[in-house]
């Protein structure tokens, strides 16, 4: 048994970090627009006008790369089986210190829901962003609703990403290696994604 198995190809990893970089650029350029409390963040980009320009550019990049990432993963993240149900009813074992065992494939239901949520948020943020981009070209009520929905999806996705980053780093030691080098330790795979581990290695249960 080799110590490491491949989880993400180089292109998958590069794509993930493009999505991440554009997401955080959007976050930082959006903060000053979100509230005057965060006006200082504009100075990172040389003023509000530049921040808006960079927001628009990274918005296009995020929209395309994030949706592409979703379609890339689609078959792995949109199906839920009986083992996933058990994970959901027991909250993935995250609410207890006791060791938990779930028969999970490549992604657990929490990851699947996160991937689906991010795809939906990308769509909403992208479409509403377009209306906000050229407000005088659309009916006022559409732009008003868009401003609200854009703000709402902005905060929801930040909260989801906070949870995602926690679980991908200190919450589950060993996970970040999947996105950094592409390989994970076999022990990690056997613990977190046993069904996937058996598929990849052909090992009998």
């Amino acid at each position: 048994m080799s110590n490491y198995i491949e989880r993400f190809s180089t292109s998958e990893r590069v794509l993930h970090w493009i999505v991440t970089a554009s997401f955080f650029t959007l976050l930082l350029t959006g903060l000053g627009l979100y509230s005057t409390l965060f006006n200082g963040y504009f100075s990172l980009f040389g003023g509000g006008r530049n921040a808006i320009l960079i927001h628009k550019i990274s918005g296009v990049l995020f929209f395309l790369s994030s949706l592409y990432m979703f379609f890339n993963h689609q078959k792995d993240v949109t199906g839920f089986d009986q083992d996933d149900k058990k994970w959901v009813t027991e909250r993935g074992g995250y609410l207890s210190r006791n060791a938990s065992h779930f028969n999970i494939g490549k992604y657990n239901p929490g990851q699947k829901l996160f991937a689906i949520f991010i795809a939906a948020a990308t769509l909403v943020l992208g479409v509403t962003g377009l209306f906000i981009w050229a407000p005088t070209m659309f009916p006022r009520w559409i732009v008003q609703l868009s401003l609200m929905a854009h703000g709402l999806m902005f905060v929801c996705s930040i909260m989801f990403v906070v949870v995602h980053v926690y679980l991908a780093t200190i919450g589950n030691p060993g996970t970040i290696e999947a996105m950094l080098y592409g390989n994970v330790r076999s022990l990690w795979a056997r613990k977190h994604h046993p069904k996937w581990y058996r598929e990849v290695t052909g090992e009998k249960p």
């Binding site: 808006i52 060791a99 906070v162 926690y166």
Partner: protein, 263 residues
């Protein structure tokens, strides 16, 4: 941003629509004082001209044609920024100082500070702010530059019929109330800086009967914004709490269990 308005010292206009003769001196005077270019307009079979506010037209006369028993009558309505006590444009503006309230309670603007986000376009209950080729906000600023020097606003000065009366807002309202006028905008949005004496229901003049900040703008700025900031710190706090109470899922925990159990 805390936007406070002193209701007792506040200045404003009283527009008595019954006096207006539709001469449009106000339109011309405003253009002259503010050095605004002429707009190219088209004849659409009415005397109303131009048909909408533009980046170079801060106020205009709306012509309302009415037919009563076969006879055609006009009503004239001076359309402009209302200098709302609770101003939607200021609520959403992300660039401090781009829209600001003067000590007289006027909502003025500073193009240098405007970052062209155009949020104010969507947040104004009266659809007033306009954008020109410079991509910056423009609207009536109640002649901030004139009144700070003790002068009357250009439009009011040019008005030959005293339709546009400028002064201390509370005095103007008291006088109009004594004259038994039907007033619009006394209390809405913490009081409009431009109060109208109307001769019919507001809808007839194209005004909302009960003007307010658009619902989704209110939800955005007064509900989602504060809750969102709370939610952000809440999610970070929740993750930290999880880490120190329940703790991470370490891979070798399992290893120990296995070793204990099987060997």
């Amino acid at each position: 941003m805390a936007d406070t308005i002193n209701q007792t010292t506040r200045k404003g206009f009283l527009v008595d629509t019954s006096r207006c003769i539709g001469c449009r001196s106000c339109q011309v005077a405003c253009k002259q004082w503010n050095k605004l270019d002429a707009d190219k307009t088209a004849n659409k079979g009415t005397f109303e001209n131009p048909r909408d506010l533009t980046p170079a037209l801060y106020n205009r006369i709306r012509f309302i044609e009415k037919e009563t028993s076969g006879e055609m009558t006009w009503q004239f309505f001076n359309e402009r920024c209302m200098h709302c006590g609770d101003a939607g444009c200021m609520k959403v503006c992300p660039s401090p100082g781009a829209l600001y309230r003067t000590k007289d309670g006027i909502v003025a603007f500073n193009k240098d500070k405007c970052i062209s986000c155009k949020y104010c376009v969507s947040a104004c209950p009266f659809n007033i702010p306009r954008y020109g080729t410079d991509d910056k906000v423009s609207k009536c600023h109640l002649c901030t530059d004139r009144i700070s020097g003790g002068m009357t606003p250009a439009c009011a000065k040019a008005c030959p019929t005293e339709t546009l009366k400028y002064g201390k807002r509370s005095d103007l309202i008291a006088k109009a109330t004594a004259a038994k006028k039907t007033l619009y905008g006394v209390d809405d949005l913490l009081g409009l800086g431009v109060v109208y004496a109307l001769e019919g229901p507001p809808e007839q003049y194209g005004l909302p009967a009960k003007p307010g900040i658009p619902m989704s703008i209110f939800l955005w700025k007064d509900v989602i914004k504060p809750l969102g900031i709370l939610g952000f710190w809440g999610s970070i706090g929740a993750m930290l709490l999880h880490y120190v109470t329940i703790g991470p899922k370490k891979v070798d925990d399992d290893l120990n269990v296995k070793e204990d159990g099987h060997e």
